[in-house]
């Protein structure tokens, strides 16, 4: 197929029609869930996979030699392979964590803390979620390293040309691929290419992008990539961290406990090989099965089509919001108009009140600071309304939101 034909088939592929059949519990006639950046709804295949885990594989993982125990271990490792394949990573370089937050803490405390030197710099962007800010802040406080912020322009584009970022004193750049407030997409491939050439380590927070932007860690060649299942249609309570093979050799477990050692005596501990040495405690088997089912669900839809669908729907929401005389839209990370996440304020109506009126009308939008204090301080706002889209959303969700904004304006101004 030539590229033009491929492009045409993606643009005519009906993501919504293919996806919605998998959300049999989601009543999209009466309810408009616009909070997928917080957590996505779960398709039937994920719910089934989690249930099957408890029904058919209920035995300890990597701890039992009886058949059910072997089956559980095998199912867990198959799930790891499927999630790793989803981001094009070798299976042995993907560890399961309880969340994206824990994955990032594994990097700060299990790796960076032991090798970073005082005065070395860690660069983060202005738009980081606290999950990718507070661990680095704490690390710098305890090690004497310096935390630096990559600023952005008024269009939401990162100012990556500052020479200081690329100075030899820079240890690592940790940034979000897609902002949880501004959506869009940061240029992680360019950034990783440049960082690698300068000997700077990179961590990508892919929590928001993994649901709709294709990820290929082999091509990206980042050192770390963190994400969680529940924002990509998978279950809560499980996340993943991809670790470059050299960094993995330098890393220590964040947690010590059962399942991570070859041998133990009073003087010595010999850890198991990676990835097992990083997963102390009983593994979350049902979570892993649900995670893998979510990866399969997304891979069953053309990746470019999902990205195009939620981005275009976001553009239509943005257009409708812009037509309201009293709505102020925040920029989109990386510029442009296509984004599955949009933040805004309504003049004269507090975001909490907008969200409450929307909730009363069956529209679920988020309000608050979105765990992004650095960004909200920069934007000089205390709170924002945010809508975020999934594959189960459609144009019909726009009008109820606009009606809610009009009603909130009528009530409160």
């Amino acid at each position: 197929m030539n590229s033009l034909a491929a492009k045409k088939s993606i643009s005519t592929y009906d993501v919504y029609q293919h996806a919605i059949e998998q959300f049999s519990h989601y009543d999209n006639e009466r309810y408009h869930y616009l909070d997928s950046a917080a957590t996505s709804q779960k398709p039937d295949c994920v719910i089934d996979a989690v249930t099957q885990g408890y029904r058919h594989f209920c035995a300890p993982v990597h701890r039992a030699s009886y058949p059910l125990g072997e089956a559980a271990s095998s199912a867990y490792e198959t799930a790891r392979a499927r999630v790793a394949q989803f981001i094009n990573a070798p299976t042995s370089q993907l560890i399961f964590t309880k969340s994206c937050t824990e994955a990032i803490n594994q990097v700060t405390l299990g790796w960076a803390k032991s090798i970073i030197k005082p005065q070395q710099k860690i660069w983060l962007t202005r738009m980081e979620h606290n999950a990718n800010y507070l661990p680095w802040h704490q690390l710098c406080q305890t090690t004497g390293a310096e935390l630096k912020i990559i600023e952005m322009d008024e269009d939401g584009c990162l100012l990556l040309e500052q020479e200081e970022i690329w100075h030899e004193s820079t240890f690592l750049i940790a940034l979000t691929h897609c902002s949880n407030v501004l959506g869009g997409e940061n240029p992680i491939q360019e950034l990783c290419d440049k960082a690698r050439a300068q000997g700077i380590y990179t961590l990508i927070d892919a929590a928001q992008s993994v649901s709709h932007l294709p990820l290929d860690v082999d091509k990206l060649a980042c050192d770390f990539l963190a994400f969680s299942a529940h924002k990509m249609y998978g279950p809560e309570g499980i996340g993943a961290l991809y670790i470059d093979v050299k960094r993995m050799a330098e890393m220590s477990p964040l947690l010590m406990g059962g399942g991570i050692v070859e041998s133990v005596d009073e003087q010595h501990i010999v850890l198991r090989e990676a990835p097992y040495c990083f997963e102390a405690g009983s593994p979350n088997l049902s979570g892993a099965l649900g995670f893998a089912a979510a990866a399969d669900f997304l891979q069953g839809l053309p990746a470019a089509a999902v990205s195009q669908y939620v981005g275009e729907l976001g553009r239509q929401f943005r257009q409708a919001l812009a037509q309201q005389g009293n709505v102020t839209l925040m920029p989109i990370a990386g510029g442009g108009e296509h984004s599955s996440v949009l933040s805004f304020t309504v003049d004269g109506v507090h975001p909490h009140d907008v969200a409450q009126v929307a909730a009363d009308n069956g529209v679920a939008i988020r309000t608050g600071n979105h765990c992004s204090h650095l960004l909200l301080n920069h934007l000089k706002v205390g709170a924002l309304n945010r809508l975020s889209l999934g594959v189960y959303n459609r144009r019909e969700d726009i009008e109820p939101l606009i009606k809610s904004i009009k009603l909130a304006t009528e009530i409160f101004t």
């Binding site: 507090h350 975001p351 909490h352 009140d353 409450q356 309000t367 608050g368 600071n369 909200l376 706002v381 205390g382 709170a383 009530i411 409160f412």
Partner: protein, 137 residues
């Protein structure tokens, strides 16, 4: 009072709040921040022999927070400091269980309409906490 009537009363407080105004150097000031939504409120109080003589507040906050501040103002001026805790406990009882409204001070009762929304409870409590802090200064 049904939910609609309660909401109408809260809205009236929000649109014409009692006590919203400048806090000058004669006031002891307490601050409240709602970490969930970033709301901020400053509450100023003047006292004479443990009696509250005036309350003023300034806020970047939602309608519930403003309405609760206005109700607090109407309830507590010319009352003893100890009454802050008394009414605050009534407010908390109301938020936990809207059925307790019947035994609650009438001015507070409209806030029972948010009892089923725990994420908004802090909005109603914020100014009360700030007032308590102000009285300690």
């Amino acid at each position: 009072m049904n939910k609609k009537e309660s909401q109408a009363v809260l809205l009236a407080h929000y649109k014409s709040p009692t006590g919203l105004g400048e806090i000058d150097e004669n006031y002891s000031v307490g601050k409240g921040i709602n970490p969930l939504c970033g709301d901020e409120i400053s509450v100023g109080v003047t006292l004479e022999n443990d009696v509250i003589t005036d309350i003023k507040f300034q806020a970047r906050a939602c309608s519930i927070c403003i309405a609760s501040s206005s109700i607090m103002n109407q309830l507590l001026i010319n009352e003893k400091i100890s009454q802050i805790e008394y009414y605050y406990q009534q407010l908390n009882g109301l938020l936990k269980d809207s059925c307790s409204a019947i035994q609650t001070e009438e001015l507070l009762r409209p806030l029972a309409s948010i009892s089923a929304m725990p994420s908004r409870h802090k909005c109603a409590q914020l100014s009360w906490e700030a007032l308590s802090e102000a009285c300690k200064h």
